[in-house]
């Protein structure tokens, strides 16, 4: 009978807890939507400034999230530009060149890297910035470039691992096709293996982009500020959406500002959720076909 009661309990509890989780997510998302939808619109981003003027840099936006949005975009662009080539190259090395023992060793390093808390990476970036500041140039300090580098470092393991796994999963028949036709190892990688593994690689990159867009801890230590406008150079401070949200959460001064905070939440959440969902669906779809070109 005990057994039966335990089984029953598991059944009931499972359903209850699942319902609870769903309810929590529902309340969470519902709360955000209710609070952010009224404020959604062009003014959320550009405030009172005509959008074109803002985009061309002719006018500055003080009561919109334009600068934060632009900062996040630049940040994501910068960090992906750094992390993707390095990560894909390292992934290719691990999958196609490395000996089993190197694979195991580097694999451990990358797992370790993936597990380091982002604030520790931020701290690392910050100390590097200070080091450079003291040793080399007084012009260097925490800035967009340092942030992008630290973020690149944060997402590197995702890119490496997804590239490696995607390549290793290419079926043996396809792997042998090009070599049997006289392809060198590099030709095989460039013309057959990478295109074939592209879906997996791209979905890894998507996850990495999502991570860059949402991470707050790293940039908090490496150059994000409350007010900066659109950054003019990689060596300047910048604003970013996640930090804007953090900042607003504790220091909003009026309801309008708070409602911009909710708006920023919605935009950031939609962006990240979209990227993650996209990554999952790309993994399954066959987009690589359309990209497969010699």
């Amino acid at each position: 009978m005990i057994r039966n009661i335990a089984e029953r309990a598991v059944l009931v509890l499972s359903w209850t807890l699942t319902a609870m989780l769903c309810a929590v997510v529902l309340v969470f998302v519902g709360y955000l939507l209710i609070n952010s939808l009224p404020g959604l619109g062009m003014e959320l981003i550009f405030g009172a400034v005509p959008p074109l003027d803002a985009l061309l840099g002719r006018a500055r936006v003080f009561d919109g999230i334009f600068a934060a949005l632009a900062g996040t975009l630049l940040l994501v662009a910068g960090s992906t530009a750094l992390a993707v080539p390095t990560g894909v190259a390292a992934g290719i090395y691990l999958a196609e060149y490395a000996s089993p023992s190197i694979k195991r060793l580097f694999g451990f390093f990358f797992d370790l890297l993936a597990g380091i808390p982002s604030i520790v990476i931020g701290l690392f970036g910050f100390s590097v910035a200070i080091f450079l500041h003291q040793r080399f140039s007084g012009r260097i300090g925490p800035c967009l470039l340092i942030s992008a580098m630290s973020l690149a470092f944060l997402v590197l393991p995702y890119v490496i691992r997804s590239t490696q796994v995607a390549l290793e999963n290419v079926p043996a028949t396809i792997r042998k096709t090009a070599p049997a036709l006289g392809a060198t190892r590099l030709q095989n990688i460039v013309h057959v293996l990478v295109p074939r593994a592209l879906a997996g690689i791209v979905s890894g990159i998507m996850l990495a982009i999502g991570r860059c867009a949402e991470d707050t801890a790293v940039i908090m230590l490496t150059g994000v500020v409350a007010t900066a406008g659109v950054p003019r150079s990689p060596l300047s401070s910048f604003e970013a959406l996640p930090f804007y949200i953090y900042y607003i959460s504790s220091q909003y001064t009026d309801p309008a500002e708070l409602s911009r905070g909710y708006g920023a939440c919605l935009i950031l959440m939609a962006t990240c959720a979209l990227l993650f969902m996209l990554a999952y669906s790309i993994q399954r779809s066959l987009t690589y076909r359309s990209l497969f070109r010699l």
Partner: protein, 242 residues
Amino acid sequence: MQPRDKIIVEGVSFSYGQNPVLKDIRVTFAEHAVTAVMGPSGQGKSTFLGLFNRLWDDVPGARMEGDIRIRLGGRWLSPFSADLPLPLLRRKVGMIFQEPNPLPMSIARNMAFPLKLAGLKDKAVIEEKIRTALEQAFLWEEVKDRLEKSALDLSGGQKQRLCIARALILEPEVLLCDEPTSSLDTKAAGVIEELLIQLKKQCTIVTVSHNPQQVGRIADRILMLHDGRMTPMAPGAVEYHA
């Protein structure tokens, strides 16, 4: 005319890590002949074929002893000598697999693929070669109007002929076939068999097959692989071993 030797295998042993697959194999292959290799599954037939174009080259732990020589362009070369770069070897020793493996691109691009890998640029030459190779593979008539269509939409037999044509475009002197018809229906397989017999004129063919009837139809010589050892067999004897 007494057939000349094309490939000489001298005391070759092969193992994957601790697992010995081939043991002290000695055998020669005549030029312009179809030699069939038979034997139970997992005995190392595919491994044996792969010796000639070093396909196991980047399998970790794989180890070979002994020597192989192939007469390519009139010179006796060893696939393992440093002065024969791997891609060059593989262009001269073509290979066809059990599952037809066209790449996911158009028919024309599939055909041009090995030429581009070899660095050929001239469009007119490429087109000419594509046509010749497809004709040799009995495929030209069927695909000439759809060269730009995806190769993945061809039937199984057509795909396999495409793969053969793709191998032929490099004008290989040796053609290795690893159970080239086993994923095809009888009719499509018949076309491939016919094709292999025709191709004898140009190449030396080594094929792996499980089908004794087929081997009886196409092979000039039959080798049995068992327990890592290779024994020649009279063509007439094969039916009894099916």
